[in-house]
Amino acid sequence: MTPQELSRAVDALRPRLLRFALLQLRDAAAAEDAVQEALLAATLHVGQFQGASAAATWIFAILKNKIIDEFRRRSRQPLADVDVEQEQAFEETLEEQFDERGHWISHPTAWADPQASLEQKRFWAVFEICISGLPEKPARVFGMRELLGMETEEICKELGLSTSNCWVLLHRARLGLRDCLSRRWFGEN
């Protein structure tokens, strides 16, 4: 690939890279930085790409590593006060779904034909809103697990969490997303 070809390819790819990074990093400047670094790394390896598709795969792999680096950096910092408050409020909404014996207060109901949603553009907008609405810590672990496709052990190691702590955060994230999609997309009340 020539530098000119790479530059054209990158112009087409950039919006998707940004969207990918933004959903996980939840901060436009951090997402922009991660994408810039990945693209800069790509320009240094331009000669080794056989075509646009190979370059894209390579750039996404680098971007994922940049996102993990950022998650690792954040995991070493204490949560901001607003994040702690958001997490507490989130925990409360989850707990409110269960009575004191841990049984559902109002039973969740099955979603009708969820597969069909995957074809709808509006579904993906709601999906991203729900993920963005999770508190920082469960969102980070869930993103690494499901959006980056990492193994739980790897995630715990990267973030310095115990395995059981990882499982708790994943459980919270899934309950939260279930609740959000039920209310905002599948029309459960």
């Binding site: 979603w111 995957l118 990882c166 994943l170 309950l175 999609l181």
Partner: protein, 65 residues
């Protein structure tokens, strides 16, 4: 018998690690009688399908146009 909240923990962990025989039994038994947890299991499975579709859209379909 485990509560619904505890069973949802098992349903979530099932997506991240193999459950023990006892855990699988507990979950299967609970699901026989609990509609809310059956729905939740469907929701968790769909979340996994949806996130996978999102990931594949970004990863595999990354051909430049």
């Amino acid at each position: 018998m485990l509560s619904c909240r505890e069973e949802t923990e098992l349903m979530s962990q099932r997506l991240d690690r193999p459950l023990s025989l006892g855990e699988r039994f507990s979950l299967r038994f609970h699901l026989l009688f609990c509609r809310g947890c059956r729905a939740t299991q469907q929701h968790f499975a769909f979340l996994q399908t949806a996130t996978r579709a999102w990931r594949e859209h970004h990863d595999r379909d990354s051909t430049l146009r």
